[in-house]
Symmetry: C2
Subunit: 353 residues, 2 copies
């Protein structure tokens, strides 16, 4: 499988991006990662990996890079030869099956939305899914930033796409879907949440939908899929990162204060534990968030992505583009539109999660 | 000063509520806490505190209690003799200066909003402020749940009320105000965020307003006041609680695994540190969130409030009701309405935080 990787996207690009691609193609013999960006700089990074399988790491030159802080739409218009647009162009032309970038998220999403032909049939608006940790294991929150003006129909579709993603990638069985809200009672929230509830209750997915969940239910893992509009999801994602960063830096200070009182060894042991613990919150395992609802696959990585995140993003992009995910999304969104009872998502089983 | 305390509100009421009141009146000789609720049950709790200054702990009987999970508006209509409505009735009648409750938040807010005469002059909709920790010390987020359909004018007022609260209660000087958004660029976000930005830029508070802030900026403490609509704020507040709970319970498990390898003493030392650290995230210091924009003062406490939270809530309610907070809010909201340049909030100083 051929995947286009934006070699110029990310806070530390192209170094860890290219290194991540090298590791990924080494691990996956069937993978070819097209490195999109400044040929000279990519060559320089590839030269550092002596035994890289260069035949599966072709470079596609793009002369311009969209910076992390640039205004997406403006940058896409002005920089016609940018690496992000080049990635999407390759996907649209069928030359790759997936795109991966740790670059400007807004530009990645805007570039995808420009071309509605890239949407899967029946999809109103693609949405970004993110993985959050919980007491019950990883859960999916969708949308975390693609759609700032979501309608109830969009949230409905996000729930379906998120549930199929949870099944195919997280291995969940009959994942339950919850609507992020300010309380559990039916009438809580906004016009959007009430309309979304109403839509679910008459849909083939009604049995998967548990209704409202609150912010604190996320980490409890009450449901495997949490749906919300892109504004709330994005604020939540970034605030979660901020909270984890704040907590661990405070813990490290506390540890530093304790160290002189602890026996040698114990301090290191604790520091190592903290480090391991923190990595559980860093989502590197999944490399980034997929933009669901498009043809092929797209993974949007964190700007600070390192080698491991990029490598995992390529692995997940591979899995998303290869497996039944998109077929199932199209099938289930179609089921909604016709409302056919025999297309009930749980028709094959009476057991729920 | 007389304050009405909903003795029946909270997960563990009336025990810790009454105990918190006893401690508060002991500490503050000028405070009288009216205990509102079931006379018999309150008497039983008071009997446990042998030397309680009973003359400053009068009981006002209310025969009904609104449960934490009851639907607010319905419960208020059906249970006419509930303790929350009794508290607000006392405030409206001028018999107390403030109300405090750890009960059903929705009922507290709905009860306040029922009576627009309780709003301060010029206030469109009261908002709940919450304290979050940050690298720069405590910050204020407003609104965290009073207003699900906020307009730009509401968010504008929340910023002003939050800033005055930060000055009067947190001791901030020239607190800066940020608008919670999904990116820092002007055009980011929703119609609501764009309209709010526009409003600030032509207001007397323009110099205090730094524009958009993101979720991760909260914990960095980039600004002292973060404004958002009540839906986003409430989700954020509860998700933050959930994240902290999840992190600390994971840390405790990790610690339990390490304990056998650590010398006796070190484990206890670490456990104590963790406990102290966690308390920094529990907002008990401020007892709860004030509903800003009403005559007098109202503190809405966490449902799980213990003795210390209630005691602190009474202290903060006292401070809010006594000091210049409401006068300044009325003055500054009036300044907005007339747009008079000489009412500029920073006219007395050229220095900003």
């Amino acid at each position: 499988m051929r995947i286009a990787l934006d070699a110029m996207g990310g806070d530390f690009a192209p170094g860890p991006i290219v290194a991540g691609a090298v590791e990924a193609v080494r691990d996956q013999p069937e993978l070819t990662a097209l490195l999109i960006g400044d040929r000279e700089r990519i060559e320089a990074e590839l030269a550092k990996a002596h035994d890289a399988p260069r035949d599966r790491l072709p470079i596609v030159h793009a002369g311009q890079t969209i910076g992390m802080e640039e205004k997406p739409v403006e940058a896409l218009r002005k920089k016609r030869d940018n690496s992000i647009s080049r990635c999407w162009g390759l996907l649209a032309a069928g030359e790759v099956k997936a795109v991966v970038s740790a670059g400007n998220t807004g530009a990645m999403v805007a570039s995808a939305l420009f071309n509605a032909k890239m949407f899967l049939p029946g999809v109103r608006r693609p949405g970004i899914a993110a993985i959050f940790p919980s007491h019950q294991g990883p859960i999916v929150i969708i949308d975390v930033g693609a759609n700032m003006n979501a309608k109830a129909e969009d949230l409905y579709q996000y729930g379906i796409m998120g549930a199929i993603y949870a099944e195919e990638i997280l291995g969940a069985t009959h994942p339950r879907i919850g609507l992020l809200n300010v309380g559990t009672e039916d009438e809580k929230g906004t016009d959007l949440t009430r309309a979304t509830r109403a839509l679910y209750h008459v849909s083939p997915w009604a049995s998967r939908f548990v209704g409202n969940v609150e912010g604190r239910d996320i980490y409890e893992g009450r449901v495997r899929v949490v749906i919300c509009d892109g504004f709330v999801g994005n604020v939540l994602l970034k605030a979660g990162e901020g909270a984890v960063e704040f907590l661990f830096s405070t813990l490290r200070e506390e540890l530093a204060r304790m160290l002189p009182e602890l026996p040698v060894g114990a301090g290191h042991r604790i520091a190592a534990s903290l480090h391991a613990l923190k990595s559980r919150f860093e989502y590197e395992e999944f490399g980034g968030g997929p933009l669901l609802g498009i043809r092929g696959a797209c993974i949007i990585c964190h700007g600070a992505s390192g080698v491991r995140a990029i490598k995992n993003a390529l692995r997940v992009a591979h899995a998303l583009a290869e497996d039944r995910l998109n077929c199932r999304i199209v099938e289930q969104l179609g089921a909604k539109l016709t409302g056919a009872a025999d297309e009930h998502p749980d028709s094959s089983s009476g057991a729920h999660e």
